[in-house]
Amino acid sequence: MKQLFLLLVGVLLLFSCKKDPDFNKLDNNLLVQTGYDTTATFNTYKTYAISDTINFVSNLTTQTYWADNQSTSIINQLKTNMTNSHYTLVKKADKPDLAVNLTFIKNVQQSISYDPFWYDNLYYGSMYWGYSYPYSYGGFSVSEYKSTALLIEIIDLKNAQANLKLKVIWNATITGAFDKSTAENLTMIIRAVDTSFKQSHYLKAN
């Protein structure tokens, strides 16, 4: 009987020997990573344009864009931050200096790696920004992994013709569990958008 008791104690100890951190606590904030082109002079750009929808990439649906109250809230928050950084919102027809692009990747069993700042092919006339912009994946390449992320890119349109390239001069990757309620997820995303600008003090028109 005593041996049995000891064996039970031993088995219990086996399963209690390593303590994991409180993952729920870590789920309360999204991870925000930003990068920028060190050759870009951010105060030389004055205007920007932004789509009223968010690109949507998922292996769960064929839907290619996200347009509802939540996406509108996210876009509006981005506009607020751009305004606070002294950039002026204009229509795409007014030849903005910058394009702001958002992509949401959801439940894709792929990993996201970033090929920073350059798009090699430049064509005119057919797509949203007047260039053939790889909407679905932008500068991000994707391989097998499970991930959910909001990607924000700021693209240099002002110097596109001179560069013969579309150059991403700033990007933000917002990742995390995204496993809370819709309202809580939205709150976290909006807070993360603010954080992405807060940690990018160089991102100002003047």
Partner: protein
């Protein structure tokens, strides 16, 4: 998983040793004890995880050579966790920053052989001093968002200890044991500036003599 496997192996060896040798020690007094216990750890030399670790334990087998000296095998573990509130860090290899909260984690799994000197034998309390020497496997980890960075390192560990055995049964077949030790492990992780692992550990446990009487 490797840690768990080694741990299971050590448990299995200890149990086989204890159960298999029970009859051999019959009628010779209480020489062989099996113990389990709880450890609290206070790291001493790093800021990576400088919070008191409440998640630790040990199993051990102790053989009394005579009434004064004992030797044994001890497997112990502790997890040290430290929560780092949300903070912005510059990226190491490219222009940019990252903001996140995180947990720093150090998980130590040690396997030691020990010797103890017991001072008094005619009292319920039997204080002892001891020294344990062996190997320690340490897992250094950062947990942030849904990610983790993890590295492991083996090292040598030395652990002097003081403590007392408290008899709580007839014939000393069941004892409580309490002790305090200092440990020094050579496990290092240069990425986070840790050259060794030091700390003090308070432990309390229970030990049983499994030898059968005929």
């Amino acid at each position: 998983m490797k840690n768990i496997s080694l741990f299971k192996l050590s448990i299995a060896i200890s149990m086989l040793f204890l159960l298999g040798s029970s009859s051999a020690w019959a009628q010779q007094g209480n020489k062989l004890y099996f113990g389990v216990g709880y450890n609290i750890t206070q790291p001493l030399n790093n800021t990576f995880t400088d919070k008191t670790g409440l998640y630790g334990g040990h199993v051990e087998a102790e053989y009394y050579i005579d009434k004064t000296y004992s030797v044994g095998f001890n497997a112990s573990w502790n997890t040290l966790l430290k929560y780092i509130p949300t903070k912005t860090y510059p990226l190491q290899y490219e222009a940019g920053d990252i903001t996140t909260d995180m947990y720093n984690s150090v998980y130590n799994m040690t396997y030691t052989l020990f010797g103890r000197y017991h001072f008094k034998q005619n009292n319920r309390f039997k204080p002892f001093v001891g020294l344990a020497l062996g190997a320690q496997n340490t897992e250094f980890a950062d947990f942030y968002s849904i990610y983790q960075d993890k590295q492991t390192a083996w090292g040598f560990i030395a652990r002097p200890e003081i403590g007392t055995v408290i008899s709580i049964s007839k014939n000393n077949k069941t004892n409580l044991i309490a002790g305090l030790d200092y440990f020094y492990g050579t496990n290092s992780n240069k990425n986070i500036g840790i050259n060794n692992i030091q700390g003090v550990e308070f432990k309390v446990g229970i030990q049983f003599n499994l030898e059968r009487r005929y």
